[in-house]
């Protein structure tokens, strides 16, 4: 979980950096998209690593959840929680919704099969994003997906350090705070785009 998590966090960060070019106008993001597509080796290398990581992350996640459910055997009839965070207790659920989001997102902007009215944007990524997010339901789904990503990352990133043994009582609070901040930066960064389109800030 931790090792594939590192790859996925890295990807999310890279993806966000590219996305924020949206605010620098059509030329910047369209050029970036074109540059990516003209480097087939780079883009396919990244895709292969990503697909493997996503697959392993889901596979180990399912295994972990099933094993842990079995070893708990229902737990006490009266359930009391002292400090396990909401994020930590909802990892499988936030994970499933994020997976559904990824599937929709790929069909939407990568394969351009849904919710784009069958239009061809001729490589104008900026126009495609504007059109995509002008539909409130789509924009809201993206925002919800990113908020759940925030919840998932808040617990996940802090856990990476614990799993790799790079944490102690002194650093635990700091690392947890840092991963919460990081998760919010990622989520708000992504959310800023549908929000900007939805509120008409960028036309």
């Amino acid at each position: 979980m931790a090792l594939t998590g590192v790859v996925l966090v890295g990807f999310v960060l890279g993806h966000l950096t590219g996305n924020l070019l949206f605010f620098r106008g059509p030329a910047a993001i369209n050029d970036y998209a074109e540059w990516l597509h003209s480097h087939a080796m780079l883009i396919w290398g990244a895709r292969v690593v990503l697909i493997i990581s996503v697959f392993l992350h889901i596979w180990t996640g399912i295994q972990l959840t099933l094993e842990n459910r079995a070893s708990r055997q229902g737990g006490p009839q009266v359930e009391a929680t002292r400090r396990a965070s909401v994020g930590s207790r909802t990892m499988p659920y936030s994970g499933v919704v994020i997976l559904a989001f990824i599937v929709f997102h790929l069909l939407h902007f990568t394969f351009r099969q849904v919710a784009l009215g069958g239009r061809d944007f001729q490589g104008d990524v900026h126009a495609m994003i504007r059109y995509g997010f002008s539909q409130p339901a789509v924009a809201v789904f993206y925002i919800v997906g990113m908020l759940l990503l925030c919840l998932h990352l808040g617990h996940g990133i802090a856990s990476i350090f614990q799993t790799l043994g790079l944490r102690n009582e002194r650093w635990r609070g700091r690392l947890e705070a840092a991963s919460t901040v990081f998760a919010w930066v990622i989520a708000l960064g992504f959310i800023s785009i549908p929000l900007a389109v939805l509120t008409g800030l960028i036309k």
């Binding site: 094993e67 708990r72 009839q77 002292r82 930590s88 350090f161």
Partner: protein, 274 residues
């Protein structure tokens, strides 16, 4: 006004009337809660003394008593094991069930008492569970190899104060199993982490360090305990306040041992080598 000694302003002992829901189960059968009213419980009684009162009342009524584990009743042996209102060792952090006093409960309160719940801790009877999974983990590596018979000279092996303190903190674990019972994954990482840390940082524990770590983790998995997902519940319920530090260090030592094992010398040339 209730004073620390559990007396009201007239000098009388304050007592509680309680409604108890206690788990009743025979080995291999399904269990259920039994409800009993218990009156005149002194606030100065420990939780186990309250359970003794209940059993005495049951004997007088000609009913079957509840089986529960206990031994030292002073918080050091790790035998007492009750999940009280969903919390292993009850509502007060940092104490065992035997050291929990009834002044922490309210008059008229309903208290639910259950055994530890985890696959690796099957119920033997009522509130008694089989914790031999922990024994297996200790047998796998919770020891050091020394010549026995004569006591070694104490100052032969210098141990830095910081190391001794750290090892003592880990050695505080009494093996009660509350970490497993409180973990939503039924994981034993806090216990195993405490034992591994205790021995792995002392000079006397170095000889078996990697072997110990690998063997104890393997045995832990085989005993049916779950995996750690960093909830942190164990630390919050441990009567000895063992921290998640020991789990981070266990993970570190485990990775180190695995890498060393992977690249260890086979002592023989490989095929085609010279």
């Amino acid at each position: 006004m209730v004073t620390a000694s559990g007396q009201n302003s007239h000098g009388h002992e304050v007592t509680l009337a309680l409604k108890l829901r206690v788990w009743r189960q025979r080995k291999g059968q399904a269990g259920h809660f039994e409800e009993h009213a218990l009156a005149a419980v002194p606030t100065s009684a420990s939780f186990l003394e309250m359970m003794d009162m209940l059993n005495e009342q049951l004997i007088k009524e000609g009913k079957e008593t509840f089986a529960f584990d206990h031994d030292c009743r002073e918080g050091i042996c790790g035998m007492c094991s009750m999940t009280i209102n969903g919390m292993p060792h009850g509502p007060l952090p940092g104490v065992t069930t035997c050291q929990l006093h009834m002044r922490n409960f309210r008059d008229g309160e309903t208290i639910t008492v259950e055994p530890w719940r985890a696959r690796a801790f099957p119920v033997l009877k009522d509130l008694v569970v089989d914790r031999s999974g922990f024994d297996k983990v200790i047998q796998a590596g919770g020891f050091i190899t020394v010549r026995t018979g004569s006591a070694p000279e104490a100052n032969n092996i210098p141990v830095p104060k910081g190391v001794a303190d750290e090892a003592m903190d880990a050695a505080e674990c009494i093996g009660c199993g509350a970490c497993v019972a409180s973990c939503k994954n039924g994981s034993a990482m806090l216990f195993v982490g405490a034992k591994i840390n205790h021995l792995n940082i002392l000079p006397q524990g170095q000889a078996e360090r990697d072997r110990r770590t690998l063997a104890m983790v393997k045995t832990m998995d085989e005993a049916g305990f779950g995996n750690c997902t960093n909830y942190g519940e164990c630390q919050a319920h441990c009567p000895k306040s063992i921290t998640l530090d020991v789990i981070a260090k266990l993970n570190r030592d485990y990775l180190r041992a695995r890498v060393k094992e992977f690249f260890s010398s086979t002592g023989k040339p490989s095929k085609g080598g010279d």
